[in-house]
Structures are given as structure tokens and as C-alpha cells.
Symmetry: C2
Subunit: 263 residues, 2 copies
């Protein structure tokens, strides 16, 4: 017996999913059915299906009409190069909303504002002293009423005192990037990091994540000619988002990817 039973069972079910025998939204056999089918105990069945759950292939739904369901993958594309590029005056949040709408979904978002003292790591990113204070603007973004991603942006306190709008717990119509530019803090360089990891319990709650869902984290540090002025943490639920950027001649790409109209 090279493979343990629960892995063999998982492999068979996984095969049925990736080959298309079981499609998105389909129900797997119930746990008692799998026990009979493979002649194993319930715990072994659960070990097998736990693998699929953690791989993000399946989710479990309790209740009479529940079962184990093949997960749907609806992917929302987020264009990091469209939102808030120096040359583009589009408001960041409107950019997100219009992207979602263009892809045929309904968009909404919730703002909140916190004042926090900075961790050493964040202080270094913003090039300010450790334990100094910053404004945290959080935006939770919903697609079709479901939380899909969130954005946490930190601004140094002295900047927020100069630009008081940053202290308002509301959406800033023209977008913060544009607002800063209008007040003489134009961001002329970005440092972008892309990270993949499992969610923290807080993220699991905020984004309503199923087990087996990853996080796609995009950290953008924005610099003016003088200094870093903000750090944004874009936290995407990995099962429903991807990030796209382009380099070079966009019209070339649009010729072969019609959906990428640069407008």
C-alpha cells in the first residue's frame, strides 16, 4: 500500500473534479455513501475530503440540503496599472468600481478610519520613527454583496494634519492619490510587492473566506520626490481575484485581447 486510503480516495475525487466529471456546483457523494463505496470509516472519509477542502476544490455545506460542493471560481480582474497611475487622473475607488461593473458585477464598498501607532516594519516603510502615529484608512470592497477584497492604507500623521480630508471616515470623491497630487504631494514612484499566503483569522472573518482560500496581497508604497507618503495593503481573496498589469505598448495587447480596451 504505497498511498494511504484517504489520499487514494481524495485522488479519485480530485480526478473527477479536474477532469470535469464533477462540475462546479455539483455535489460529491455524501459521507455515508463514500464510507460504503470505499469500505472505510467516517473519519477516513473526512480525512480524504479535508484534503479537497484545503485545496480549495470543495466546500462543505451543513444541513439537510447541504453536502460537499465543487467550488465555483469566478475571477475578478483588478488592473493595478489603471488605478492610480501617475499619468492617469482616474480616482482609485472609482477605478475599482468601474472595473467591477465592466465585468458584469455589482460593486459596493465600506470605509472606516483608524488612528494607529506604527509597527517597526510599517514605520520603516514610511520612513518615520517607530511608535509614531499614522492614519489607517480601510476600505472593504464587496462584489455582488459578498466581501471580495480590502484595502488598508497608512498615511503619516503629519501629512494627514496638512491634508485634513484624510481624517474624514468617508470616501474621497476624486481619490486620495489625486487629492494628494493637488496639494503638492504627487506620487512619482511606486514600490509594489506581490505575496501569496494563507489568511489570518481576522482576514477570514472580514472577507468571509472558506477554508482552503488563499490571500493575494499587493503592497504598494507610494513616493513623492521628497519621501514615502503612504503604504497600501490590498488584500484579495485568492479564489475570486487576480491582478493584471501591463508594460510597454498597451495597444499591442489590446489587439490580441479585445477585452483589454485601454479606453
Amino acid at each position: 500500500m504505497g498511498q494511504p486510503k484517504y489520499r487514494q480516495i481524495a485522488s479519485e475525487l480530485r480526478g473527477q473534479i479536474v477532469s470535469g466529471t464533477l462540475r462546479e456546483g455539483d455535489r460529491l457523494p455524501t459521507e455515508p455513501q463514500l464510507q460504503d463505496q470505499y469500505g472505510v470509516s467516517r473519519n477516513t472519509v473526512r480525512d480524504a475530503t479535508a484534503l479537497l477542502v484545503n485545496e480549495g476544490l470543495v466546500h462543505r455545506v451543513p444541513g439537510r440540503a447541504g453536502g460537499m460542493i465543487v467550488r465555483r471560481k469566478v475571477t475578478l480582474t483588478f488592473h493595478a496599472h489603471r488605478a492610480e497611475m501617475p499619468a492617469q487622473p482616474t480616482a482609485e475607488t472609482d477605478a475599482w468600481r468601474s472595473e467591477v461593473v465592466a465585468q458584469g458585477y455589482e460593486a459596493s464598498q465600506e470605509f472606516s478610519l483608524m488612528i494607529q501607532s506604527l509597527s517597526p516594519e510599517l514605520a520603516e516603510r514610511l520612513h518615520v520613527e517607530t511608535d509614531s502615529v499614522a492614519v489607517l484608512r480601510r476600505c472593504v470592497r464587496y462584489v455582488n454583496g459578498q466581501p471580495s477584497s480590502l484595502q488598508d492604507t497608512y498615511y503619516p500623521m503629519d501629512l494627514a494634519e496638512e491634508i485634513r480630508e484624510l481624517l474624514s471616515p468617508k470616501d474621497i470623491p476624486q481619490g486620495t492619490t489625486r487629492l494628494l497630487a493637488e496639494r503638492g504631494h504627487e506620487q512619482t514612484a511606486y514600490y509594489d510587492e506581490y505575496i501569496s499566503r494563507m489568511p489570518t483569522p481576522e482576514e477570514t472573518n472580514l472577507l468571509g473566506l472558506q477554508p482552503g482560500t488563499t490571500i493575494l496581497l499587493h503592497v504598494r508604497t507610494g513616493y513623492t520626490e521628497q519621501r514615502p507618503v503612504r503604504v497600501s495593503f490590498n488584500v484579495f481573496a485568492g479564489d475570486r481575484n487576480q491582478i493584471v498589469t501591463t508594460h510597454g505598448d498597451v495597444r499591442l495587447i489590446a489587439r490580441f485581447r479585445p477585452e483589454e480596451t485601454p479606453e
Copy 2:
């Protein structure tokens, strides 16, 4: 009891890890110790620790000297903007190697070559007919002897017949991007996608992934003035890699991030 036992136990242990009471490389209590400590059965202990394993916080080591160990996070930074940008003549693989060495690790890679008929999805990306054939060049990249990431690049067959070096199962010294440019196929636009997901079983084997490890996928489609000429799938083990890009004035960033010396 709002929370089930196994979640409470997991929360306590997680708290000790994130707060620093348990540090990277430390051993958790053994399973029998946790049974005594919390007065629960072994399966409950295993349910609790399975959460931590799936969150990527801990890995299990069998054997007498084993145990449950807090995972180390050594992050290798991969600069997607340095390797193979149109303006930069650096060879792509050398770029990767020098990045790894600059971060104090040992680098090696293994090439292999396959001829494959394209899936509909890939054919669309390369703008060729479905079921047409392509060259797949795979490069598995090792850091300190451990597999860390892999790159699968697909070239349309007609291009490979024009540029025969693409059919050699070896590293191309100057880098394929530069080679193509020298033969009149300079890539002038890139379409970059960033995706986070759980690994496939194949990726788990190829990269030697622990449970709870995510995949950071970077898909780059390269275009010449005429057409798309290649698609690269950069598959990174999420626990040991991040991708960095910059926009705008790089010297600004270097002023505040000394480690980001432009080349």
C-alpha cells in the same frame, strides 16, 4: 461554548506563535502533552494542530527527534521588472541567479524541454489555433538546494522552427528574451497576471511543498509588434518568495530602500 475545543486550542497556540512566545524553529508541545494540558482526546488535538498546519504556521516532523515546529519564513525577493525588461539586456536566468546570490543564497536550476499540443486556453493566449503544437521549456529553480520556484514557458512551434536554439533542452546563455530580440522578435509589450491559489499535487511534488503552502503564480505574456510570442508561468512557493516591481523614478525608491540598488 461558542467556540469548539479544537479552535480554542488552535487559537491559544496561534497566539503564542504570532506574539513571539513561540519563535520560528521552536517545537510545540507534543500531542500527548496537549491531550493532558487541555484534557481532550488525541483527535481533537490533531484537529487543532491541523488548522495551524493548513495556515502554514507549523509543520509536522515525524520520528523520535521530530515534533511540530514553527515554520521559518525566509523570503526571496524576485524583481519582475529587472529580469527581461525590454530596455535591459540582462539574461533572464542570470538575472534570477544573481538576485538569489545577492540575497545570500546558493542558486541552481534544471532545464527540461517538452513538445505539447496546446490547451484551448493557452492557444488563445498565444493567438494560435487550438491543438496546434508548442515548445514548453521548463526551468526548476533551487535555492540552497531546495526547489523554490519553476518557470514554464510556451513558444509557438513555428517560432521554434525559425529559432532552433529554442528546441535545445539547455539553458540559453544570453537568455531567450535577448535571443529572440537578436533574431528580430523583440518583445515590446508584456501582459502580467498575478494569482494566488493552492498548489496542484504536481506542484506539491515538484516544489516539495509542505501542507499549508500557497502558490504565487505570475503569468507573463510577451508581445512583439506582430503577435504574442510566448507565455511564461512563473510558479513560486508562496512561503519563500515574493515578487517586486517598481514604477516611476527608481532612484527615489533607492534613496529610502538602500537594498534596492538599481542593478
